[in-house]
Protein backbone atom coordinates (compact mmCIF):
# COMPACT_ATOMS: atom_id res chain seq x y z
CA UNK A 1 0.00 0.00 0.00
CA UNK A 2 1.37 3.39 -0.89
CA UNK A 3 1.22 6.10 1.67
CA UNK A 4 0.07 3.86 4.49
CA UNK A 5 -0.22 5.77 7.73
CA UNK A 6 1.01 2.92 9.88
CA UNK A 7 3.09 0.03 8.65
CA UNK A 8 3.60 -3.10 10.67
CA UNK A 9 6.66 -5.22 9.85
CA UNK A 10 7.34 -8.61 11.38
CA UNK A 11 5.64 -7.76 14.63
CA UNK A 12 5.85 -10.49 17.26
CA UNK A 13 4.40 -10.04 20.72
CA UNK A 14 4.59 -12.52 23.58
CA UNK A 15 3.26 -12.27 27.14
CA UNK A 16 5.68 -14.12 29.44
CA UNK A 17 6.66 -16.63 26.77
CA UNK A 18 3.10 -17.08 25.48
CA UNK A 19 2.93 -15.78 21.93
CA UNK A 20 0.10 -13.35 21.32
CA UNK A 21 0.96 -11.97 17.89
CA UNK A 22 2.90 -13.95 15.33
CA UNK A 23 4.69 -12.30 12.46
CA UNK A 24 2.22 -9.56 11.67
CA UNK A 25 2.78 -7.62 8.47
CA UNK A 26 0.17 -5.12 7.40
CA UNK A 27 -0.49 -1.52 6.42
CA UNK A 28 -3.06 0.85 7.86
CA UNK A 29 -4.48 3.23 5.23
CA UNK A 30 -4.88 6.93 5.93
CA UNK A 31 -8.09 8.67 6.95
CA UNK A 32 -10.27 5.62 6.88
CA UNK A 33 -11.94 3.59 9.56
CA UNK A 34 -9.98 0.39 9.92
CA UNK A 35 -11.67 -2.33 11.94
CA UNK A 36 -9.85 -5.30 13.46
CA UNK A 37 -12.16 -8.28 13.92
CA UNK A 38 -11.78 -11.83 15.11
CA UNK A 39 -12.88 -14.20 17.88
CA UNK A 40 -11.88 -13.47 21.47
CA UNK A 41 -8.28 -14.11 22.30
CA UNK A 42 -7.09 -13.64 18.73
CA UNK A 43 -4.87 -10.72 19.53
CA UNK A 44 -6.99 -7.79 18.33
CA UNK A 45 -6.41 -5.66 21.39
CA UNK A 46 -2.74 -6.62 21.51
CA UNK A 47 -2.33 -5.42 17.94
CA UNK A 48 -4.19 -2.22 18.71
CA UNK A 49 -2.08 -1.51 21.76
CA UNK A 50 1.09 -2.07 19.83
CA UNK A 51 0.28 1.09 17.90
CA UNK A 52 0.58 3.42 20.89
CA UNK A 53 3.14 1.41 22.82
CA UNK A 54 0.65 0.47 25.52
CA UNK A 55 2.06 -3.05 25.51
CA UNK A 56 4.88 -1.70 27.63
CA UNK A 57 2.42 -1.27 30.46
CA UNK A 58 2.00 -5.02 30.75
CA UNK A 59 4.56 -6.90 32.87
CA UNK A 60 6.33 -9.53 30.87
CA UNK A 61 5.27 -8.30 27.45
CA UNK A 62 7.94 -8.79 24.84
CA UNK A 63 7.74 -6.93 21.54
CA UNK A 64 9.91 -7.45 18.50
CA UNK A 65 9.56 -6.10 15.01
CA UNK A 66 8.68 -2.66 13.78
CA UNK A 67 5.67 -0.40 13.77
CA UNK A 68 6.27 2.54 11.47
CA UNK A 69 4.28 5.72 11.89
CA UNK A 70 4.84 7.82 8.77
CA UNK A 71 7.93 5.82 8.12
CA UNK A 72 9.50 6.13 11.59
CA UNK A 73 9.66 3.10 13.87
CA UNK A 74 7.84 4.00 17.06
CA UNK A 75 9.76 1.36 19.00
CA UNK A 76 13.09 2.95 18.24
CA UNK A 77 14.82 3.65 21.59
CA UNK A 78 15.53 7.22 20.55
CA UNK A 79 11.84 7.96 20.22
CA UNK A 80 9.97 9.65 23.07
CA UNK A 81 7.01 7.47 23.88
CA UNK A 82 4.94 10.38 25.16
CA UNK A 83 5.23 12.03 21.74
CA UNK A 84 4.01 8.86 20.08
CA UNK A 85 1.03 8.77 22.37
CA UNK A 86 0.25 12.35 21.51
CA UNK A 87 0.11 11.40 17.85
CA UNK A 88 -1.74 8.13 18.39
CA UNK A 89 -4.69 8.52 20.73
CA UNK A 90 -6.69 5.77 22.42
CA UNK A 91 -10.36 5.61 23.32
CA UNK A 92 -10.78 2.84 25.87
CA UNK A 93 -13.67 0.48 26.39
CA UNK A 94 -14.68 1.92 29.74
CA UNK A 95 -14.59 5.67 30.14
CA UNK A 96 -12.28 6.89 32.88
CA UNK A 97 -12.74 10.60 33.44
CA UNK A 98 -9.81 12.10 35.28
CA UNK A 99 -10.49 13.40 38.79
CA UNK A 100 -11.00 16.98 37.70
CA UNK A 101 -13.60 19.20 36.06
CA UNK A 102 -14.96 18.64 32.57
CA UNK A 103 -12.98 21.61 31.32
CA UNK A 104 -9.77 20.36 32.90
CA UNK A 105 -10.28 16.90 31.48
CA UNK A 106 -10.32 18.21 27.94
CA UNK A 107 -7.49 20.64 28.61
CA UNK A 108 -5.41 17.96 30.35
CA UNK A 109 -3.57 16.68 27.31
CA UNK A 110 -2.51 20.11 26.18
CA UNK A 111 -1.42 21.17 29.64
CA UNK A 112 0.75 18.17 30.32
CA UNK A 113 2.52 18.68 27.04
CA UNK A 114 3.30 22.17 28.14
CA UNK A 115 0.98 24.01 25.78
CA UNK A 116 -0.40 26.90 27.80
CA UNK A 117 -2.25 29.75 25.98
CA UNK A 118 -5.20 30.46 28.23
CA UNK A 119 -7.21 32.38 25.68
CA UNK A 120 -7.14 29.70 23.08
CA UNK A 121 -7.79 27.05 25.70
CA UNK A 122 -11.43 28.04 26.13
CA UNK A 123 -11.93 27.90 22.38
CA UNK A 124 -10.07 24.62 22.12
CA UNK A 125 -12.12 23.02 24.87
CA UNK A 126 -15.34 24.20 23.31
CA UNK A 127 -14.30 23.03 19.87
CA UNK A 128 -13.47 19.49 20.91
CA UNK A 129 -16.52 19.16 23.10
CA UNK A 130 -18.54 20.12 20.05
CA UNK A 131 -16.75 17.61 17.89
CA UNK A 132 -17.45 14.93 20.47
CA UNK A 133 -21.08 15.98 20.51
CA UNK A 134 -21.05 16.90 24.19
CA UNK A 135 -20.90 20.70 24.16
CA UNK A 136 -24.60 21.45 24.36
CA UNK A 137 -25.06 19.19 27.35
CA UNK A 138 -22.20 20.52 29.42
CA UNK A 139 -21.63 24.10 28.34
CA UNK A 140 -23.22 25.41 31.53
CA UNK A 141 -21.25 23.24 33.88
CA UNK A 142 -17.76 23.09 32.48
CA UNK A 143 -16.12 23.40 35.86
CA UNK A 144 -18.08 20.73 37.65
CA UNK A 145 -16.46 17.34 38.30
CA UNK A 146 -16.44 15.08 35.29
CA UNK A 147 -17.45 12.07 37.36
CA UNK A 148 -21.00 13.39 37.60
CA UNK A 149 -21.67 12.72 33.92
CA UNK A 150 -23.51 9.65 32.70
CA UNK A 151 -21.48 6.83 31.20
CA UNK A 152 -22.34 7.81 27.65
CA UNK A 153 -21.40 11.42 28.34
CA UNK A 154 -18.18 10.31 29.98
CA UNK A 155 -17.19 8.35 26.92
CA UNK A 156 -17.79 11.39 24.73
CA UNK A 157 -15.73 13.41 27.18
CA UNK A 158 -12.93 10.89 26.82
CA UNK A 159 -13.24 11.29 23.06
CA UNK A 160 -12.94 15.07 23.39
CA UNK A 161 -10.00 14.65 25.75
CA UNK A 162 -8.24 12.35 23.34
CA UNK A 163 -8.82 14.59 20.34
CA UNK A 164 -7.71 17.74 22.09
CA UNK A 165 -4.04 16.87 21.68
CA UNK A 166 -4.64 16.64 17.95
CA UNK A 167 -3.51 13.13 17.20
CA UNK A 168 -3.15 11.80 13.70
CA UNK A 169 -4.46 8.37 14.55
CA UNK A 170 -7.30 7.50 16.86
CA UNK A 171 -7.43 3.98 18.29
CA UNK A 172 -10.63 2.58 19.73
CA UNK A 173 -10.75 -0.52 21.94
CA UNK A 174 -14.40 -1.52 21.62
CA UNK A 175 -15.29 2.06 22.52
CA UNK A 176 -19.03 1.58 22.41
CA UNK A 177 -19.39 -1.81 24.06
CA UNK A 178 -19.82 -0.50 27.61
CA UNK A 179 -22.50 1.98 26.57
CA UNK A 180 -26.24 1.87 26.20
CA UNK A 181 -27.47 1.65 22.58
CA UNK A 182 -28.19 5.36 22.22
CA UNK A 183 -24.80 6.47 23.49
CA UNK A 184 -23.17 3.76 21.39
CA UNK A 185 -24.87 5.14 18.33
CA UNK A 186 -23.63 8.59 19.26
CA UNK A 187 -20.06 7.42 19.42
CA UNK A 188 -20.34 5.56 16.14
CA UNK A 189 -21.68 8.66 14.42
CA UNK A 190 -18.86 10.76 15.81
CA UNK A 191 -16.32 8.28 14.50
CA UNK A 192 -17.87 8.33 11.04
CA UNK A 193 -17.56 12.11 11.03
CA UNK A 194 -14.02 12.05 12.32
CA UNK A 195 -12.58 9.77 9.65
CA UNK A 196 -12.32 12.74 7.32
CA UNK A 197 -9.49 14.09 9.41
CA UNK A 198 -8.13 11.15 11.33
CA UNK A 199 -7.05 7.64 10.68
CA UNK A 200 -9.21 5.51 12.93
CA UNK A 201 -8.42 1.97 14.01
CA UNK A 202 -11.09 0.12 15.94
CA UNK A 203 -11.33 -3.25 17.60
CA UNK A 204 -14.73 -4.83 17.87
CA UNK A 205 -16.19 -8.24 18.47
CA UNK A 206 -19.56 -7.18 17.04
CA UNK A 207 -19.53 -8.07 13.37
CA UNK A 208 -22.50 -5.84 12.62
CA UNK A 209 -20.76 -2.84 14.09
CA UNK A 210 -17.76 -3.65 11.92
CA UNK A 211 -19.95 -3.76 8.85
CA UNK A 212 -21.52 -0.42 9.76
CA UNK A 213 -18.28 1.40 10.29
CA UNK A 214 -15.43 -0.23 8.40
CA UNK A 215 -13.71 1.06 5.31
CA UNK A 216 -10.88 -1.43 5.76
CA UNK A 217 -10.98 -4.74 7.59
CA UNK A 218 -8.30 -6.77 9.34
CA UNK A 219 -9.27 -10.29 10.35
CA UNK A 220 -7.17 -12.00 13.03
CA UNK A 221 -7.22 -15.52 14.33
CA UNK A 222 -5.09 -16.96 17.16
CA UNK A 223 -2.50 -14.23 16.92
CA UNK A 224 -2.07 -14.36 13.18
CA UNK A 225 -3.24 -12.14 10.40
CA UNK A 226 -5.64 -14.11 8.26
CA UNK A 227 -6.92 -11.58 5.81
CA UNK A 228 -7.06 -7.83 5.32
CA UNK A 229 -8.41 -5.49 2.70
CA UNK A 230 -11.13 -2.99 1.84
CA UNK A 231 -14.35 -3.72 3.71
CA UNK A 232 -16.56 -4.61 0.80
CA UNK A 233 -13.97 -7.06 -0.49
CA UNK A 234 -13.45 -8.87 2.79
CA UNK A 235 -17.09 -8.94 3.81
CA UNK A 236 -18.55 -9.90 0.47
CA UNK A 237 -15.76 -11.82 -1.25
CA UNK A 238 -13.50 -13.21 1.47
CA UNK A 239 -10.45 -14.99 0.12
CA UNK A 240 -9.74 -17.29 3.07
CA UNK A 241 -11.89 -20.16 4.27
CA UNK A 242 -11.34 -19.07 7.85
CA UNK A 243 -12.74 -15.63 7.08
CA UNK A 244 -15.76 -17.16 5.41
CA UNK A 245 -16.36 -19.32 8.45
CA UNK A 246 -16.08 -16.39 10.81
CA UNK A 247 -18.40 -14.22 8.79
CA UNK A 248 -20.90 -17.04 8.70
CA UNK A 249 -20.88 -17.13 12.46
CA UNK A 250 -19.04 -20.43 12.90
CA UNK A 251 -17.10 -19.05 15.85
Amino acid sequence: MNDAHIQVRNLNVAYSQNPALKNINLDIPREQIVVIVGPSGCGKTTLLKSFNRFLELVDGAHVSGQVLLDGVNIYDPAVDVTEIRKRVGLLAQRPYPLPMSIYDNVAYGLRIHGIKTKLDMDAVVQHYLEVAGLWDEVKDRLHTPATRLSVGQQQRLCLARGLAVEPEVLLGDEPASALDPISARHIEQRLLELKQNYTIVLVTHILRQAKRLADYVIFMYLGELVECGPAHEVFEHPKEALTRAYLAGAF
Partner: protein, 328 residues
Protein backbone atom coordinates in the same frame (compact mmCIF):
# COMPACT_ATOMS: atom_id res chain seq x y z
CA UNK B 1 -19.29 -40.95 58.59
CA UNK B 2 -20.20 -44.11 56.67
CA UNK B 3 -21.39 -45.79 59.84
CA UNK B 4 -24.20 -43.26 60.12
CA UNK B 5 -25.91 -44.77 57.13
CA UNK B 6 -26.14 -48.34 58.44
CA UNK B 7 -28.67 -49.32 61.06
CA UNK B 8 -27.10 -51.42 63.81
CA UNK B 9 -29.35 -53.72 65.76
CA UNK B 10 -28.43 -52.73 69.30
CA UNK B 11 -30.78 -50.05 70.59
CA UNK B 12 -28.40 -47.64 72.43
CA UNK B 13 -26.00 -47.40 69.49
CA UNK B 14 -28.86 -46.83 67.05
CA UNK B 15 -30.16 -44.04 69.23
CA UNK B 16 -26.79 -42.35 69.55
CA UNK B 17 -26.08 -42.56 65.88
CA UNK B 18 -29.51 -41.29 64.96
CA UNK B 19 -28.94 -38.38 67.30
CA UNK B 20 -25.60 -37.60 65.71
CA UNK B 21 -27.19 -37.64 62.27
CA UNK B 22 -30.13 -35.47 63.27
CA UNK B 23 -27.91 -32.90 64.83
CA UNK B 24 -25.93 -31.99 61.74
CA UNK B 25 -28.21 -29.03 61.31
CA UNK B 26 -28.34 -28.48 65.03
CA UNK B 27 -24.56 -28.52 65.23
CA UNK B 28 -24.49 -25.88 62.58
CA UNK B 29 -27.01 -23.72 64.37
CA UNK B 30 -25.30 -24.05 67.74
CA UNK B 31 -21.92 -23.35 66.24
CA UNK B 32 -23.33 -20.31 64.52
CA UNK B 33 -24.72 -19.03 67.79
CA UNK B 34 -21.46 -19.64 69.62
CA UNK B 35 -19.45 -17.92 66.92
CA UNK B 36 -21.82 -15.00 66.95
CA UNK B 37 -21.42 -14.77 70.69
CA UNK B 38 -17.69 -14.67 70.35
CA UNK B 39 -17.90 -11.80 67.93
CA UNK B 40 -19.17 -9.60 70.71
CA UNK B 41 -15.78 -9.98 72.34
CA UNK B 42 -13.88 -7.23 70.49
CA UNK B 43 -16.45 -4.55 71.10
CA UNK B 44 -16.87 -5.61 74.71
CA UNK B 45 -13.13 -5.52 75.21
CA UNK B 46 -12.85 -1.96 73.98
CA UNK B 47 -15.65 -0.85 76.25
CA UNK B 48 -14.34 -2.78 79.24
CA UNK B 49 -10.87 -1.36 78.79
CA UNK B 50 -12.16 2.18 78.68
CA UNK B 51 -14.35 1.61 81.70
CA UNK B 52 -11.73 -0.20 83.77
CA UNK B 53 -9.08 2.41 83.21
CA UNK B 54 -11.56 5.17 83.84
CA UNK B 55 -12.50 3.61 87.13
CA UNK B 56 -8.91 3.30 88.26
CA UNK B 57 -8.13 6.82 87.15
CA UNK B 58 -11.23 8.21 88.78
CA UNK B 59 -9.61 9.11 92.14
CA UNK B 60 -7.23 11.52 90.56
CA UNK B 61 -9.87 12.96 88.29
CA UNK B 62 -11.90 13.61 91.38
CA UNK B 63 -8.99 15.06 93.34
CA UNK B 64 -7.97 17.66 90.81
CA UNK B 65 -9.73 19.50 88.00
CA UNK B 66 -9.01 18.01 84.60
CA UNK B 67 -7.66 21.29 83.29
CA UNK B 68 -5.01 21.46 86.03
CA UNK B 69 -3.98 17.92 85.36
CA UNK B 70 -3.56 18.51 81.66
CA UNK B 71 -1.77 21.83 81.86
CA UNK B 72 0.12 21.50 85.12
CA UNK B 73 3.85 21.49 84.61
CA UNK B 74 5.13 20.07 87.86
CA UNK B 75 5.25 16.38 88.50
CA UNK B 76 5.99 15.58 92.11
CA UNK B 77 3.98 12.58 93.13
CA UNK B 78 5.28 12.63 96.70
CA UNK B 79 3.82 16.07 97.11
CA UNK B 80 0.68 15.13 95.30
CA UNK B 81 1.43 17.32 92.32
CA UNK B 82 0.49 15.67 89.06
CA UNK B 83 0.95 17.94 86.10
CA UNK B 84 0.81 15.97 82.87
CA UNK B 85 1.73 18.76 80.56
CA UNK B 86 5.44 17.92 80.15
CA UNK B 87 4.59 14.33 79.34
CA UNK B 88 1.85 15.20 76.90
CA UNK B 89 4.24 17.59 75.22
CA UNK B 90 6.92 14.95 75.23
CA UNK B 91 4.62 12.52 73.45
CA UNK B 92 3.53 15.14 70.95
CA UNK B 93 7.05 16.33 70.17
CA UNK B 94 8.50 12.86 69.66
CA UNK B 95 5.56 11.74 67.54
CA UNK B 96 5.64 14.91 65.46
CA UNK B 97 9.37 14.63 64.79
CA UNK B 98 8.95 10.98 63.89
CA UNK B 99 6.17 11.72 61.43
CA UNK B 100 7.98 14.63 59.80
CA UNK B 101 10.99 12.39 59.30
CA UNK B 102 9.03 9.36 58.19
CA UNK B 103 6.27 10.62 55.93
CA UNK B 104 8.15 12.07 52.93
CA UNK B 105 10.50 9.11 52.39
CA UNK B 106 7.73 6.61 53.05
CA UNK B 107 5.35 8.23 50.60
CA UNK B 108 8.05 8.33 47.97
CA UNK B 109 8.99 4.71 48.59
CA UNK B 110 5.38 3.62 48.44
CA UNK B 111 4.77 5.51 45.21
CA UNK B 112 7.85 3.91 43.74
CA UNK B 113 6.76 0.45 44.79
CA UNK B 114 3.23 0.94 43.57
CA UNK B 115 3.87 2.68 40.28
CA UNK B 116 7.38 2.08 39.06
CA UNK B 117 8.90 -1.00 40.58
CA UNK B 118 9.15 -4.21 38.66
CA UNK B 119 7.40 -7.24 40.10
CA UNK B 120 10.77 -8.68 41.07
CA UNK B 121 11.62 -5.62 43.14
CA UNK B 122 8.24 -5.81 44.84
CA UNK B 123 8.63 -9.44 45.78
CA UNK B 124 11.94 -8.63 47.42
CA UNK B 125 11.03 -5.43 49.17
CA UNK B 126 7.66 -6.43 50.60
CA UNK B 127 9.03 -9.27 52.76
CA UNK B 128 11.80 -6.96 53.91
CA UNK B 129 9.22 -4.46 55.05
CA UNK B 130 7.36 -7.20 56.89
CA UNK B 131 10.60 -8.09 58.60
CA UNK B 132 11.17 -4.51 59.62
CA UNK B 133 7.68 -4.39 61.04
CA UNK B 134 8.28 -7.52 63.05
CA UNK B 135 11.38 -6.40 64.88
CA UNK B 136 10.57 -5.97 68.56
CA UNK B 137 10.52 -2.62 70.22
CA UNK B 138 13.44 -3.41 72.52
CA UNK B 139 15.66 -4.32 69.60
CA UNK B 140 14.89 -0.96 68.05
CA UNK B 141 15.79 0.49 71.42
CA UNK B 142 19.13 -1.30 71.38
CA UNK B 143 19.81 -0.02 67.89
CA UNK B 144 18.83 3.43 69.00
CA UNK B 145 21.20 3.41 71.93
CA UNK B 146 24.06 1.89 70.02
CA UNK B 147 23.81 3.66 66.68
CA UNK B 148 21.47 6.65 66.79
CA UNK B 149 22.23 8.30 70.09
CA UNK B 150 25.97 8.50 69.40
CA UNK B 151 25.23 9.79 65.91
CA UNK B 152 23.06 12.54 67.33
CA UNK B 153 25.59 13.32 70.01
CA UNK B 154 28.71 13.31 67.83
CA UNK B 155 27.41 14.49 64.51
CA UNK B 156 23.92 15.91 64.30
CA UNK B 157 23.95 18.00 67.44
CA UNK B 158 27.24 19.77 66.79
CA UNK B 159 26.33 20.36 63.14
CA UNK B 160 22.96 21.85 63.95
CA UNK B 161 24.45 23.84 66.76
CA UNK B 162 26.94 25.42 64.42
CA UNK B 163 24.58 26.14 61.54
CA UNK B 164 21.16 26.59 63.04
CA UNK B 165 21.83 26.90 66.74
CA UNK B 166 20.38 30.37 66.89
CA UNK B 167 16.91 29.00 66.27
CA UNK B 168 15.52 27.81 69.60
CA UNK B 169 13.96 24.81 67.93
CA UNK B 170 17.41 23.49 67.07
CA UNK B 171 19.26 24.73 70.11
CA UNK B 172 21.52 22.20 71.75
CA UNK B 173 21.52 22.36 75.54
CA UNK B 174 21.88 18.69 76.03
CA UNK B 175 25.18 17.06 75.14
CA UNK B 176 24.18 13.47 75.70
CA UNK B 177 22.46 12.64 72.43
CA UNK B 178 19.49 11.19 74.28
CA UNK B 179 16.50 13.23 73.35
CA UNK B 180 13.61 13.90 71.07
CA UNK B 181 15.55 13.71 67.84
CA UNK B 182 16.98 10.30 68.67
CA UNK B 183 13.54 9.13 69.70
CA UNK B 184 12.02 10.58 66.57
CA UNK B 185 14.51 8.88 64.30
CA UNK B 186 13.98 5.48 65.90
CA UNK B 187 10.20 5.89 65.82
CA UNK B 188 10.31 7.02 62.20
CA UNK B 189 11.96 3.77 61.19
CA UNK B 190 9.47 1.83 63.30
CA UNK B 191 6.38 3.30 61.67
CA UNK B 192 7.87 3.31 58.18
CA UNK B 193 6.63 -0.16 57.20
CA UNK B 194 3.06 0.71 58.19
CA UNK B 195 2.90 3.97 56.32
CA UNK B 196 4.46 2.43 53.26
CA UNK B 197 2.11 -0.55 53.35
CA UNK B 198 -1.01 1.56 53.72
CA UNK B 199 0.00 4.07 51.08
CA UNK B 200 0.87 1.21 48.75
CA UNK B 201 -2.54 -0.41 49.20
CA UNK B 202 -4.33 2.87 48.71
CA UNK B 203 -2.46 3.53 45.49
CA UNK B 204 -3.03 0.02 44.15
CA UNK B 205 -6.73 0.49 44.71
CA UNK B 206 -6.85 3.16 42.03
CA UNK B 207 -7.95 1.36 38.84
CA UNK B 208 -5.40 0.96 36.08
CA UNK B 209 -7.88 2.36 33.59
CA UNK B 210 -7.38 5.78 35.10
CA UNK B 211 -3.63 5.58 34.64
CA UNK B 212 -4.09 4.42 31.08
CA UNK B 213 -6.45 7.30 30.40
CA UNK B 214 -3.72 9.73 31.36
CA UNK B 215 -0.91 7.89 29.61
CA UNK B 216 -2.96 7.63 26.42
CA UNK B 217 -2.73 11.38 25.81
CA UNK B 218 0.99 11.28 26.24
CA UNK B 219 1.54 12.04 29.92
CA UNK B 220 4.68 10.76 31.60
CA UNK B 221 4.31 8.31 34.44
CA UNK B 222 5.08 10.97 36.98
CA UNK B 223 2.48 13.34 35.53
CA UNK B 224 -0.02 10.52 35.65
CA UNK B 225 0.77 9.93 39.31
CA UNK B 226 0.63 13.62 40.12
CA UNK B 227 -2.62 14.47 38.35
CA UNK B 228 -4.59 11.28 37.98
CA UNK B 229 -3.64 8.96 40.82
CA UNK B 230 -2.60 11.04 43.82
CA UNK B 231 -5.71 13.26 44.02
CA UNK B 232 -7.79 10.11 44.48
CA UNK B 233 -5.54 8.76 47.17
CA UNK B 234 -5.17 11.82 49.33
CA UNK B 235 -7.75 10.93 51.98
CA UNK B 236 -6.33 7.43 52.21
CA UNK B 237 -2.79 8.68 52.58
CA UNK B 238 -3.84 11.08 55.29
CA UNK B 239 -5.60 8.28 57.08
CA UNK B 240 -2.47 6.20 56.81
CA UNK B 241 -0.37 8.98 58.28
CA UNK B 242 -2.83 9.37 61.14
CA UNK B 243 -2.66 5.62 61.80
CA UNK B 244 1.10 5.81 61.72
CA UNK B 245 1.12 8.60 64.28
CA UNK B 246 -1.15 6.64 66.52
CA UNK B 247 1.35 3.80 66.43
CA UNK B 248 4.18 6.18 67.13
CA UNK B 249 2.58 7.77 70.12
CA UNK B 250 1.87 4.38 71.65
CA UNK B 251 5.41 3.06 71.38
CA UNK B 252 7.07 2.37 74.68
CA UNK B 253 10.32 0.48 74.93
CA UNK B 254 12.23 1.87 71.99
CA UNK B 255 11.42 5.44 72.88
CA UNK B 256 12.10 4.86 76.55
CA UNK B 257 15.63 3.81 75.84
CA UNK B 258 16.67 6.81 73.81
CA UNK B 259 14.59 9.79 74.72
CA UNK B 260 16.23 10.83 77.97
CA UNK B 261 13.31 10.57 80.34
CA UNK B 262 13.54 14.04 81.80
CA UNK B 263 10.24 15.60 82.68
CA UNK B 264 10.62 19.01 81.18
CA UNK B 265 8.60 20.76 78.55
CA UNK B 266 10.80 20.54 75.46
CA UNK B 267 11.82 23.57 73.48
CA UNK B 268 14.24 22.03 71.04
CA UNK B 269 14.45 18.73 69.22
CA UNK B 270 17.72 18.05 70.98
CA UNK B 271 16.12 18.30 74.42
CA UNK B 272 15.32 15.17 76.34
CA UNK B 273 11.67 14.44 76.91
CA UNK B 274 9.43 12.07 78.80
CA UNK B 275 6.55 10.70 76.77
CA UNK B 276 3.47 9.31 78.46
CA UNK B 277 4.35 5.74 77.58
CA UNK B 278 7.76 6.03 79.17
CA UNK B 279 6.20 7.62 82.23
CA UNK B 280 3.96 4.64 82.77
CA UNK B 281 6.64 2.06 82.07
CA UNK B 282 9.28 3.63 84.27
CA UNK B 283 7.13 4.17 87.30
CA UNK B 284 4.75 1.30 87.47
CA UNK B 285 6.83 -0.30 90.18
CA UNK B 286 6.27 2.50 92.64
CA UNK B 287 2.77 3.31 91.74
CA UNK B 288 1.10 1.48 94.55
CA UNK B 289 3.24 3.01 97.24
CA UNK B 290 2.30 6.64 96.77
CA UNK B 291 -1.27 7.82 97.05
CA UNK B 292 -2.93 8.72 93.79
CA UNK B 293 0.16 7.66 91.86
CA UNK B 294 -1.51 4.59 90.44
CA UNK B 295 -4.55 6.65 89.46
CA UNK B 296 -2.32 9.16 87.78
CA UNK B 297 -0.40 6.58 85.78
CA UNK B 298 -3.51 4.72 84.81
CA UNK B 299 -5.01 8.05 83.88
CA UNK B 300 -2.08 8.48 81.53
CA UNK B 301 -2.88 5.06 80.10
CA UNK B 302 -6.47 6.14 79.70
CA UNK B 303 -5.33 9.23 77.84
CA UNK B 304 -3.30 7.08 75.48
CA UNK B 305 -6.21 4.74 74.96
CA UNK B 306 -8.54 7.61 74.25
CA UNK B 307 -6.18 9.21 71.74
CA UNK B 308 -5.65 5.94 69.99
CA UNK B 309 -9.33 5.05 69.79
CA UNK B 310 -10.12 8.38 68.20
CA UNK B 311 -7.21 8.37 65.76
CA UNK B 312 -7.69 4.76 64.74
CA UNK B 313 -11.43 4.90 64.52
CA UNK B 314 -11.47 7.91 62.24
CA UNK B 315 -8.66 6.83 59.98
CA UNK B 316 -9.99 3.30 59.60
CA UNK B 317 -13.37 4.65 58.57
CA UNK B 318 -11.72 6.89 56.00
CA UNK B 319 -9.64 4.02 54.68
CA UNK B 320 -12.66 1.77 54.28
CA UNK B 321 -14.36 4.42 52.24
CA UNK B 322 -11.32 5.14 50.09
CA UNK B 323 -10.36 1.64 49.16
CA UNK B 324 -13.81 0.18 49.26
CA UNK B 325 -12.71 -2.63 51.49
CA UNK B 326 -11.09 -3.32 54.82
CA UNK B 327 -7.47 -2.42 54.89
CA UNK B 328 -4.42 -2.46 57.13
Amino acid sequence: MESEKTTPTTWPTWFQIHLLRLSRQTKDRWAGKMFLGMTTLPLMLVIIMLVALLMRAWPILQAKPLWDLLTGQTWRPLRGEFGFYPFIMGTIWVTAVAMVLAVPPCLLSAIYLAEYARPLTRTIVKPLLDLLAGIPSVVYGVWGVVAIVPWVKDFLAPTFDKCLGFIPFFAVDNPTGFGILAGGIVLAVMVAPFIIAITYEVMRSVPDGLREASLAVGATRWQTIKYAVLPQTLPGIIAGVVLGSSRALGETMAVLMVVGNVSRVPSSIFDPAYPLTALIANNYGEMLSIPLYDSALLGAALMLLGMEVIFNGISTLILHRVTGREIA
